[in-house]
């Protein structure tokens, strides 16, 4: 199981990447920052960084507009 934003739970599977998580959560916003267990993940690593079961992922959306 993976925790997203200290609230949502997502089923973990072998080989799951940060990009897979973003796709499953429907997070396609452009101003996103991702940390996995408090480590900042660079954007170019989203499709290769594999998550471990139990990871705590924070997907931060920076508000714009308003």
């Amino acid at each position: 199981m993976i925790t997203v934003n200290n609230r949502d739970r997502l089923e973990w599977r072998e080989g799951m990447t940060v990009q897979d998580l973003l796709d499953e959560m429907g997070y396609d916003y452009v101003l996103i920052t991702v940390t996995v267990n408090e480590i900042l993940i660079p954007e170019e690593d989203y499709d290769s960084y594999e998550l471990e079961s139990g990871s705590n992922v924070v997907v931060f959306h920076l508000a714009h507009g308003g």
Binding site: N5, N6, R7, T17, G26, D28, Y29, V30, L31, T33, L40, E43, E44, D45, D47, S48, V58, V59, F60, H61, L62, A63, H64, G65, G66
Partner: protein, 666 residues
């Protein structure tokens, strides 16, 4: 899994780089000094000065390449100090030195490249001016890339090549952005300041240009403000279930693509250059639609230019269920022409439509108009009536608060239901964001001094999506900082768009709580203030400046008979689902889950009505708790009135103000 990284060798050392990166940047990141004259970090590399050459080996072949515009696409071995490289750079530097011997940056480059003989290439072209133009082309490219203009360009060929405006005359299209001077490495272009007498004009310019450079390099992969303006938010809000649809009942709709930014760009927008509302700003957020033929109203048949539409206008169309691009243009044009606000009209019409669909009003009331959601022609009819001062449109123009009172009084319409679905607070219609799933945003809207307006809709993502302000104290802190930050823009006459509608690449390195504030841009605004007034600013001083005005405004509200807790109470539609249809649309994904996990009640076997009642009780309690916390943080009483001691702290405890609030103290 496809990787975006490649391993290359730099002077024998292996390093991992991101595919398609330009070589110069990679070399510098790896501590290799490379001389350049024509390269600027914020401009597209040109490769014209050729000083950045390095020798690469690829597939067994060696060649010299200009590193600034060489994209790394395969495994290469780079030699930055070969004899060939050194000789090439030295010869070039000697030639530059021969032509511009006294320009400091040329002297610096010559020293780096070992070029000492300044007479070797001395000729009739030699220019002894210390601030000579060295034809680097920065100004030409900055004009085009920072502000999308072509005011400057090269003219002449060979030894006659020089930089100029068209036909050697001052071009009236120049908006005075100063980007050419900002990037000029020699001082050949200088700015003569003759406006407003700022304390330090260069400080303001330099920080402004920093943001223009971000627009040129980052906007296309961020908010696409230059491409589509604020309409980009339509796509985002629909994707995140936050776009108001059918009077805020829902957050997305299958027909949104008819009015989203892609459609506006493909079918309507014809102009998008900087309009000069802020001298020198290159965000170009305003979009224009030319040659649109009107189908209704006094200008029917005329081809007109429409200014917009912005996010709120397109979202207002969604709120009325009018997913039709032509309608959106016509609605935008006539609201602008009549001088009415697209947000207030849209939100009020959405309320009217829901009342009509629920039988609270009928065609007798609307003057024969079938005002269901999606009734584009009828909305425009109402709008024309509103402007002409006749028919049902006059009532719509009076706003939701007036309609609620009138219909309850004269028609016996269900006052409680109208209170629940009438999206207004303090008499002002809500702007176009669905806030019912974000507690902080609910209070952000209602506690805004002038009503639930679009200036204060920043907390939705922070709260609902990011879950970064989970506790009441966190929310109260956000409800302290952000409204004051917003107030500060107004106090100083500054536009907020460049604060968070483009963000520095480094913003990703801050932890979320700080990143949300876009610290580097906050600092830029502080520099604007300092450049204008001569006084340095920090967060504490900024908040105090705003808090004085914010509290003064609240006291004035009190003087006018508002400004207490009852005036900060939202309609329930802003807090949770009013109807069964609304509840069921998010029951599985949200409401049932929240009931079980957060409220602690098992929803199994309960009717929709029962579940709605439980949800409502919980949400109203939560809302009141967040308001309590926010009032405490602001130094206000539990009735929402500034405490006298808070006025004292801020130095605004004037007797006439104290007189207004003295009876409201706890």
């Amino acid at each position: 899994m496809a990787t975006k990284k490649i391993t290359i060798k730099i002077d024998g050392r292996e390093t991992e780089v991101i595919k398609d990166s330009f070589l110069l940047g990679v070399l510098r990141d790896n501590g290799v000094a490379v001389p350049t004259l024509c390269h600027h970090k914020d401009l597209t590399p040109q490769g014209t000065c050729r000083l950045c050459v390095v020798e690469i080996e690829q597939n067994g072949k060696k060649k010299l390449v200009t590193s600034c515009n060489f994209p790394i696409r395969g495994e290469i071995s780079v030699d930055t100090t070969s004899e060939r490289v050194k000789k090439h750079r030295k010869t070039l530097a000697e030639m530059y030195l021969g032509r511009w011997p006294k320009v400091p940056i040329i002297q610096e480059i010559a020293a780096i490249c070992g070029a000492t003989d300044k007479d070797k290439y001395k000729s009739e072209l030699t220019d002894e001016n210390e601030k000579a133009c060295i034809l680097c082309g920065h100004c030409v490219h900055a004009c085009e890339e920072f502000v999308m203009e072509k005011i400057l360009d090269f003219a002449g060929r060979g030894i006659k090549r020089h930089m100029t405006m068209p036909f050697g005359e001052v071009d009236p299209h120049c908006i005075g952005c100063t980007s050419c001077a900002y990037v000029c490495p020699t001082g050949a272009i200088e700015i003569v300041d003759d406006m407003n007498g700022p304390h330090d004009a260069k400080l303001i310019r330099d920080y402004g240009m920093k943001i223009n450079a971000e627009m040129a390099t980052l906007d296309k992969s961020q908010c696409r403000m230059r491409e589509v303006g604020t309409a980009n938010i339509v796509d985002v809000m629909d994707a995140y279930d936050l776009l108001p649809v059918h009077n805020y009942k829902f957050g997305q709709h299958v027909d949104t693509p008819n009015i989203d930014s892609k459609m506006l760009k493909a079918k309507y927008v014809t102009q998008g250059l900087p309009d000069g509302c802020w001298k020198g700003c290159s965000m170009a957020c305003a979009k224009t639609v030319d040659g649109f033929e009107l189908k209704t109203g006094p200008y029917k048949g005329s081809k007109v230019t429409v200014d917009g539409p912005e996010y709120e206008t397109a979202a207002a169309a969604a709120n009325m269920g009018c997913f039709d691009g032509d309608f959106l243009m016509e609605y935008n044009f006539y609201c602008d022409t009549y001088g009415v606000d697209t947000i207030s009209v849209g939100t009020c019409m959405a309320f009217v439509m829901e009342c009509f669909e629920n039988g609270l009003i009928d065609k007798e009331v609307t003057g024969g108009k079938e005002l269901k959601f999606g009734a584009t022609a009828e909305v425009l009819q109402c709008l024309h009536e509103m402007a002409l001062g006749e028919g049902f449109g006059v009532d719509v123009g009076m706003g939701i608060r007036y309609l609620k009172g009138k219909w309850a009084r004269e028609l016996g319409a269900d006052a409680d239901f109208m209170q629940d679905i009438g999206m207004e607070v303090k008499g002002l219609e809500y702007s176009e964001y669905v806030c019912k799933e974000s507690l902080a945003q609910q209070a952000g809207y209602t506690m805004a001094v002038k009503g639930p307006q679009h200036d204060e809709a920043w907390l939705i993502f922070m709260d609902m999506v990011n879950n970064q302000i989970p506790s009441f104290d966190d929310k109260a802190e956000a409800l302290y900082y952000y409204p004051l930050w917003r107030t500060w823009f107004g106090l100083n006459g500054l536009c907020k768009l460049i604060w968070n509608d483009v963000v520095p690449a480094t913003n990703k390195n801050f932890p979320p709580q700080q990143a949300a504030k876009v610290p580097e841009h906050v600092e830029d605004f502080f520099k604007f203030f300092e450049g204008m007034t001569g006084e340095p600013l920090d967060e504490e001083k900024m908040l105090d400046q705003s808090a004085r005005v914010h509290n003064l405004q609240r006291v004035m509200s009190r003087m006018l008979g508002y400004g207490t807790r009852k005036d900060d109470m939202p309609p329930y539609r802003a807090v949770g689902p009013v109807t069964g249809e609304e509840y069921e649309s998010r029951a599985e994904k949200l409401y049932d889950k929240q009931m079980k996990e957060i409220i602690g009640i098992d929803p199994t076997g309960k009717s929709t009505e029962e579940k709605m009642e439980i949800t409502r009780k919980h949400r109203v309690e939560q809302y009141n708790k967040v308001v309590d916390a926010a009032y405490d943080r602001r130094g206000w009483t539990r009735n929402g009135v500034p405490k006298i001691e808070r006025l004292k702290e801020l130095g605004i405890d004037l007797p006439e103000l104290v007189e207004i609030i003295k009876d409201d103290q706890e």
